[in-house]
């Protein structure tokens, strides 16, 4: 019952987010600020993680290719498929649930504790729209981050594979081009867009409805990370079933 109550409140929150819009000029500035905080602020860690994830995927694949009949270009193929289909969209979204999610929850939660949300409400402002809507819009830039992560991940795989002496550059690039299905990119970006929405709204929910003081903000951040991760993983399964099978 407790979870059903929370799910119900989450959807009621979404209704609040998309109703009684904040003044356009104010909203525009808020969206740019959120793009800076949530998207540009995440680029560094995303690129760093993607590079090394790609590199590890290449090495792992290479080390498991014990059968001489399997061509080395499989390293490029496997790296591409792993990075595009799962590591960039899903794995990085789970990492972002920690980085972006805890930032969103703690910033909104602190506003709740310090009565800044009450101050907005007293002024007659729809605090949900003012606080959450710009984050949702900013997170629609998230697929661009994942696109960069895909490129860097494959680049990392190339560097690790070729300069680690596991595969030649020609073989890697041949594997990279082999049986490429453009729809896989569509699938990855559909997933990413949905994850972006979840990354913006679930932590906002936990921050907005948090109770207690500083300790409450900490607890809300933790539960926001856990629940965002859980929902992303479930959504990943459902979307894969719907879009790929």
């Amino acid at each position: 019952m407790f979870y059903l109550d929370d799910i119900g409140r989450y959807f009621l929150m979404l209704r609040g987010v998309f109703s009684r819009m904040t003044k356009g000029s104010v909203l525009k500035n808020l969206i740019f600020k959120e793009i800076n905080d949530l998207i540009l602020g995440s680029l560094g860690i995303t690129v760093f993680l993607a590079f090394f994830i790609g590199a590890v995927v290449a090495i792992q694949t290479a080390l498991n290719l014990t059968n001489p009949l399997i061509p080395k270009q499989l390293i490029g193929f496997a790296s591409r498929q792993s990075v595009i289909l799962e590591f960039a969209p899903t794995f990085l979204s789970v990492i972002m649930a920690g980085k972006v999610g805890s930032y969103i929850t703690s910033s909104i939660g602190t506003m709740r504790v310090t009565e800044q949300i009450d101050a907005l409400e007293v002024m007659g402002i729809n605090s949900l729209n003012y606080l959450v809507f710009p984050k949702v819009i900013a997170m629609f830039m998230y697929p661009f981050v994942i696109a960069i992560a895909m490129f860097v991940g494959i680049f990392g795989a190339y560097i690790a594979g070729v300069y680690g002496g596991f595969v030649s550059g020609t073989e890697f690039l041949a594997g990279l081009r082999e049986e490429f299905i453009p729809y896989h990119l569509v699938y990855a970006f559909i997933k990413t867009t949905i994850f972006a929405f979840l990354l913006a709204t679930i932590p906002s929910f936990h921050g907005y409805y948090m109770k207690g003081g500083a300790l409450g903000v900490g607890k809300a951040s933790t539960s926001a990370f856990v629940w965002t991760t859980v929902v992303i993983i479930i959504a990943n399964y459902v979307l894969t079933q719907l879009l790929l099978s």
Binding site: V26, T114, Q116, D118, A119, E121, V122, M123, G124
Partner: protein, 254 residues
């Protein structure tokens, strides 16, 4: 003028406000006093529209809040200013941006026009040179003054203050009290202040409402509060050592 009629409000089955009826007049500083947990903040938040009473009504110059539609309620809220206990300043904004915020949200003024009004209210609260400072860079007393400036920048008809001088030294507390009283008189607004500070009662209490366990226990003005024979009020007033000593000295004819 705000008329409150028999309001009840509870949380999780526990009744916090148990039928409060009173009137707060325009141009006066109205004080709600009582010990912690007496329901002062819940009462204030009901009047602000942040909590919906389960029973009873609140009328703002004849308009009953619960009978207004959503748009009318929002319009009414735009006529309210609020000074929160912890100031509730937006910590990512400068002093100037904090004060300008209600103007940005609700008016179509140009930035230059807004700036004129912001500087006017900042000057009124004696904060001429703090425009570009962040809330974290100014003292608690200055934060309270910024909160007052933000609350009055749109020229509200109703000003609510939740323990405006809590956490301030006695001298700064008196400055804040007097500032609120002066602003109330200058703008002829209805001001309601939540406090448990007897110094505030003595300084600015034109009408005093005493709450106890969610009931309205007593109401009167600052001259009556020391003469009342209501035990709960007397106990509250003389819980301050200073007032107790003054009373003892008076009784001894000193």
């Amino acid at each position: 003028m705000i008329e409150v009629k028999d309001i009840h409000k509870g949380f999780n089955g526990e009744e916090i406000l148990k039928g409060i009826t009173t009137t707060f007049e325009r141009g006066k500083t109205n004080l709600i006093i009582g010990t912690s947990g007496s329901g002062k903040t819940v009462f204030l938040k009901c009047m602000l529209g942040l909590f919906t009473p389960e029973q009873g009504s609140i009328c703002y110059d004849g308009a009953t809040y619960s009978e207004l539609n959503e748009q009318q309620q929002r319009d009414l809220r735009e006529q309210m200013g609020m000074v929160f206990q912890g100031s509730a300043l937006f910590d990512s904004m400068t002093v100037e941006e904090n004060v300008m915020f209600p103007l940005m949200m609700f008016t179509k003024q140009k930035k230059e026009e807004m700036l004129v009004r912001v500087n006017e209210v900042l000057a009124r609260v004696n904060l001429e040179n703090a425009n570009n400072k962040l809330p974290s860079e100014i003292s608690g007393g200055m934060q309270k003054r910024v909160a007052i400036a933000r609350a009055i920048v749109t020229r509200p008809k109703y000003l609510f203050c939740d323990e405006p001088n809590s956490g301030l030294d006695p001298r700064t507390a008196i400055v804040i009290d007097n500032l609120i009283k002066e602003i109330t008189e200058e703008n002829d607004i209805t001001t309601i202040i939540n406090t448990h500070d007897m110094n505030s009662v003595m300084e600015i209490g034109e009408k005093i409402v005493f709450l106890r366990y969610g009931h309205l226990e007593w109401e009167g003005d600052k001259s009556q509060i020391f003469r009342t024979d209501n035990e709960a009020v007397t106990e509250f007033v003389y819980s301050s050592n200073l007032f107790k000593k003054v009373r003892d000295a008076q009784l001894k004819g000193l």
